[in-house]
């Protein structure tokens, strides 16, 4: 019985450890996130996007002027 229990626990350990291993294998950019440098990327993209938005608004205004 004791041997059986041991085998079962070893098997269970194998299965669960394999499972956690598989989970850890999926690499996410946690390092970039924890160092806070991802905020720089977000800021850069936001800047590009906001400037493009303002540019579109200026274009809109120019066309409005032409229409009058």
């Amino acid at each position: 019985m004791i041997i059986m229990k041991k085998i079962i626990t070893i098997l269970l350990f194998c299965i669960t450890s394999h499972y956690t291993f598989a989970q850890n294998q999926i690499e996410m950019a946690t390092g970039l996130r924890s160092s806070g440098k991802i905020y720089v990327v977000v800021l850069v993209l936001l800047t590009i996007f906001v400037v493009l938005g303002v540019f579109l608004f200026m274009l809109d205004k120019r066309i409005k002027k032409l229409e009058k």
Binding site: I26, L46, F49
Partner: protein, 221 residues
């Protein structure tokens, strides 16, 4: 449509999707890793394209029923803007495919279908340029556009679903709704989609207004 609230809304929605799209939680999935965030940026391009082609076909039908030149001009400009979004969608899709599927152009039914659909809409623009007479051009291209739209839907949305495709939601492949079990991504994705559609429509109306001015000047000359 000349008010600006919906334009600001579109900008704010996309800006929000950029911030939450990079900082928000996403499920850790095999192969995809962080590239799953592309769902917020690559897929809305296709939604914007679809919305613009839909606008185009509506205006084509309106042209055939009322035969006003302005409806025809709106139909062209919607296709012109839609093709830009389509090209961005193809390019971003190629970049994403290269890193996850191992090839810039894996012969995927959805990828091939969208390429054919793009060619079909390019043919629409070529057809327009080939016809000299204004009314004839408007009528023929409107009819072509009405035929092109359902074929585009079949090529891009129905055929890939019927066969095996690398894209989610086809063959043995689950949809993103299945992969993203706790639906963390859904609100961000919808915000990005609506935002990009609004921006696409905005650019389309700008082009349409320029086209109207050109048309007016040509009539005076």
């Amino acid at each position: 449509m000349r008010q600006s609230w919906w334009k600001i809304l579109g900008l704010v929605m996309v800006a929000a999707s950029i911030v939450v799209g990079f900082l928000g939680p996403v499920p850790a999935l095999f192969l995809l890793h962080e590239t799953i965030r592309n769902v917020y940026f690559h897929v809305p391009m296709w939604s914007a394209m679809f919305a613009l082609y839909l606008i185009s076909v509506i205006y084509s039908i309106r042209y055939l029923s009322r035969s006003r030149v302005n409806d025809d001009l709106m139909a062209v400009e919607a296709v012109n803007t839609g093709i830009v979004f389509c090209i961005i969608g193809l390019l971003t899709g190629m970049q994403w495919a290269n890193i996850t599927w191992g090839d810039f152009w894996p012969n995927d039914p959805k990828t091939n279908g969208s390429a054919i659909a793009t060619l079909m809409y390019l043919a629409y623009l070529v057809l327009r340029n080939a016809l000299e007479e204004e009314q004839k051009r408007a009528k023929i291209s409107a009819i072509y556009n009405i035929f092109a739209f359902p074929i585009m839907i079949v090529l891009m949305y129905i055929m890939p679903k019927m066969t095996d495709s690398l894209h989610p939601g086809s063959g043995g492949n689950g949809t993103f709704g299945d992969l993203d079990m706790d639906n963390q991504m859904r609100p961000v994705f919808y915000t990005a989609t609506i935002g990009w559609i609004l921006i696409g429509v905005w650019i389309c109306t700008l082009r349409y207004r320029v086209r109207l001015l050109e048309n007016k000047r040509n009539l005076i000359d």
